[in-house]
């Protein structure tokens, strides 16, 4: 049953203790970053009320911080950053393109429908 014509990519992932140390250091660094971002988000959420002058700024900070967190999780924790470029782009590019399009089209539509209700009653 053993086939020697198939490459076992699973074995490529092995590393020694020395390399492991470096990997663990990165993991702890990213943990600290993710925790700090979460604390910052909660602080902003607690102290700045929705509807205040600073709110639009805070709202966009939330979205940017969330994308930053997501990037760390996908690229470091899920190791997509260490994969080959081809795999990285096959996963990320179509998804991101589609989501950006979907978000744009749906939210625009929702705002227009909301305004129509406000204008013409409901």
């Amino acid at each position: 049953m053993e086939r020697d014509d198939i490459i076992e990519y699973s074995l490529d992932a092995h590393h020694d203790e020395e390399h492991g140390k470096k990997v663990r250091a990165t993991i702890w660094k990213v943990t600290a970053i993710l925790t700090a971002i979460t604390i910052l988000e909660v602080m902003l959420g607690v102290y700045i009320k929705q509807g205040s002058g600073a709110w639009p700024f805070v709202k966009w900070s939330f979205i940017i911080l969330t994308l930053l967190k997501a990037a760390y999780i996908v690229l470091v924790f899920m190791h997509l950053g260490d994969e080959r470029k081809s795999l990285k782009y096959v996963i990320l590019v179509p998804y991101i393109l589609f989501m950006v399009y979907l978000i744009f089209i749906c939210l625009m539509e929702a705002l227009k429908i909301g305004n129509t209700w406000m204008t013409y009653g409901g």
């Binding site: 092995h14 020694d16 993991i27 969330t66 470091v76 795999l87 998804y95 749906c106 539509e109």
Partner: protein, 341 residues
């Protein structure tokens, strides 16, 4: 032509079941493809949520007004609980990636240690979510009230404790003059929603009529969430005016003037769809967390039995890890769009 071309390319260039252009194993690649499809599902759900929210605009509830409870400490701690949940999930993601790292060094004990930590974190998260749902379903002590002009308002402040119900007209289970001290809040909310409170007199299930003795509320504030003839969305009413309007509504003897908590048809926090999206999205995510915990347990049994050690690599741990990180990733977005923004 095609057949001719195939001969010209050597096996190393052509995948042909031997060399992957992605330089990764079949299993891992398929896990990635599955995660992309699952991410599309969650993306679709969150965009649908965004659609409804932008459509409803000001009437939509604000996270910090809705989620402000902590276990044992009660209300008044906006966002702290979900922040804690987020932190638990991030930490369990970290322990998972440490298990994967241990697997790369063929360190079986390390893998077991970190996977146990991950599973415990997963259980904590699922438990937290159960608590969160319990609170969401039961709601606040005040509920959402429909005011005299037809507008609807949520209520903030400190609810004065109910001391007892003093029976003034006997029913099946209670005698006149008796002071009822059990299950007060539940009876009170049930009667208020059903329109069985008139003036300060509550009519219980068994026909008993009783006076409500209750401590005064403090710092009451009404925040209008649905337009009426006089008030519109975003208006705030405070102090004595708020108390008068609130009790005029719930002590008026009319049913359906107040809503407590949430179910699939209505909720006290905002539009109907808010409750439905909350249940569906956090429920679907919670289901993912639960499946993740189950899969982690299955894989850990494999690790303990030494299956992967014999195989020469711990890629199964890496694959289940990918799924687990994905669950964390989804929560990051749910956290932002449900609770923060």
């Amino acid at each position: 032509m095609a057949g001719h071309a195939t001969k010209e390319i050597d096996a190393a260039t052509l995948w042909g079941g031997k060399v992957s252009p992605f330089s990764t194993s079949y299993g891992k690649l398929m896990m990635w493809f599955f995660l992309v499809s699952d991410a599309l599902t969650f993306g679709g759900l969150l965009v649908a949520y965004g659609f409804t929210r932008h459509d409803a605009q000001d009437a939509w509830p604000i996270g910090e007004e809705t989620f402000n409870s902590l276990p044992f400490l009660g209300h008044g701690y906006p966002l702290m609980y979900v922040a804690l949940m987020t932190f638990i999930l991030i930490v369990s993601s970290v322990t998972m990636v440490l298990a994967v790292e241990a697997g790369h060094r063929m360190d079986k004990r390390g893998v077991i240690k970190w996977m146990i930590a991950t599973i415990i974190g997963g259980f904590f998260f699922v438990g937290s979510q159960a608590w969160e749902w319990y609170h969401f379903i039961h709601g606040s002590e005040f509920g959402k009230v429909e005011l005299a002009d037809g507008s609807q308002a949520i209520v903030k402040g400190h609810f004065g404790e109910i001391e007892n119900f003093e029976v003034i007209e006997a029913g099946h289970h209670h005698k006149k003059g008796e002071k009822i001290t059990e299950d007060l809040m539940h009876e009170f909310q049930h009667a208020a929603a059903g329109g069985h409170i008139n003036g300060g007199v509550i009519t219980l299930h068994d026909g008993t009529k009783a006076m409500i003795h209750k401590k005064a509320d403090e710092h009451m504030e009404l925040i209008v969430k649905k337009d009426g003839k006089k008030y519109s969305v975003g208006d705030r009413i405070e102090g004595k005016d708020a108390e008068k309007m609130y009790y005029d509504a719930i002590y008026g003897g009319t049913a359906n003037k107040v809503i407590y908590g949430a179910n699939l048809e209505q909720n006290e926090y905002g539009p109907q769809q808010y409750g439905q999206f909350f249940f569906f999205i956090t429920g679907f995510h919670g289901f993912h967390v639960f499946s993740g915990v189950v899969i982690n347990i299955i894989i850990m049994i494999g690790v303990v039995m030494g299956i992967y050690h014999k195989r020469g690599h711990y890629e199964m741990v890496e694959k289940t890890g990918l799924y687990w990180h994905f669950v964390d990733l989804v929560w990051v977005f749910v956290f932002t769009f449900f609770y923060l923004v």
